[in-house]
Symmetry: C2
Subunit: 216 residues, 2 copies
């Protein structure tokens, strides 16, 4: 099993090239306007069908991109979760919920494409299922939901899921917006990903603590 280096490494490198090229093209031009051929070419593969060979369909490729980042993000979330313990401060749990994504983007170094990619996948009527499946497989997310529920026992269950959805959308789209601004050299409200996360946490905490107007 010592001989797995040479070949397997080459294959892994090719896969990585394809994943990176795909993520970039998808983010910049849109998931549906970019063909598997173009991805293969952009990855430097003379092979027309490199994507098909290594990943299968475009949906499989997208799933692979998500998984690649999910691992890192999950690590960060687990770390923050450990630090939070059994806090009863809403902000601690919102930190766990919000910070992993911008922190991951910051760690990637400029420029990044993943947030714009995610925003598209989350919004597309066909692809949103893929993203949902991959997200649901994270046990740490469930822990955060539980933690928030314990902090806010009086909040009606429907409002909790409503505001959870809002937070999800907010995280992804604010990061995507900043990513786009960076790519286009447009001014951004915050000067780095860490401050972006802070602004996001401020807003999400405010949202979550907001009083609920009763509806008849």
């Amino acid at each position: 099993m010592a001989g797995r280096t040479a070949r397997a490494e080459q294959v892994g490198a090719t896969r990585e090239l394809i994943l990176t090229a795909a993520e970039r093209l998808f983010a910049e031009r849109g998931v549906y306007t970019v063909s598997n051929r173009q991805v293969s070419e952009a990855a430097g593969q003379g092979n027309n069908t490199a994507v098909g060979y290594h990943f299968g369909t475009k949906t499989d490729l997208i799933r692979a991109i998500i998984r690649k980042h999910a691992a890192r993000i999950e690590e960060i979330r687990a770390r923050l979760l450990a630090a939070t313990g059994d806090s009863t401060d809403v902000r601690d749990w919102v930190d766990c919920l919000v910070r992993p994504v911008p922190e991951h983007l910051g760690a990637l170094g400029s420029p990044t494409w993943y947030a714009r990619f995610c925003a598209q996948v989350m919004t597309d009527p066909a692809l949103r299922r893929v993203m949902a499946e991959e997200s649901l497989s994270s046990p740490s997310l469930r822990q955060i939901v539980d933690g928030l529920r314990r902090c806010l026992p009086d909040l009606p269950a429907e409002v909790r899921v409503e505001r959870g959805d809002m937070a999800r959308h907010l995280i992804v789209h604010v990061c995507a917006e900043r990513e786009r601004a960076l790519a286009e050299h447009t001014p951004t409200p915050r000067s780095n990903w860490d401050d972006t996360a802070t602004g996001l946490v401020d807003a999400v905490v405010g949202m979550w603590l907001a009083p609920v107007t009763p509806t008849p």
Copy 2:
């Protein structure tokens, strides 16, 4: 000019059929997976190229769909704006910002497709420009931004634009989410569009009033 009825009415009806069919297909299957041909057929036009004839490119068709709804939404916003006057209550201005969209969707009657359509257009790297152009042409939106600024004079300018962006994304995606749930007969957090708007306003007001953590 009295004789404009017969022919012009037919044409207007055909255009309307195409717009409705396109909006529905785009929302359900995705803007890029639906071809102009399929739109023409779904609109009952034996003509392959009805979309091209009446609207031009797909982008032009999308712009026409946006304009069609924008007029109604603008009316509602103007009405709410008049009622708000020169209030100094944040919630009044957030009402003006948030309620037009869900109220418009409610007035359309179930099922609707526009919110899902908008979510896609807003997120796509190429189409987002179209949506931005159409939105910027609304003077009443600028009034609301001004009103909010007067209510929150101590909020840093960057945080104001940041939270304005957040509100924009929240409105569209929460409405899209509810629309999707209605279409799939999945339970929704709120039982009608009016309550959805209330939940959205609660959250956006909380977000806007949230304290700002200083960043070095």
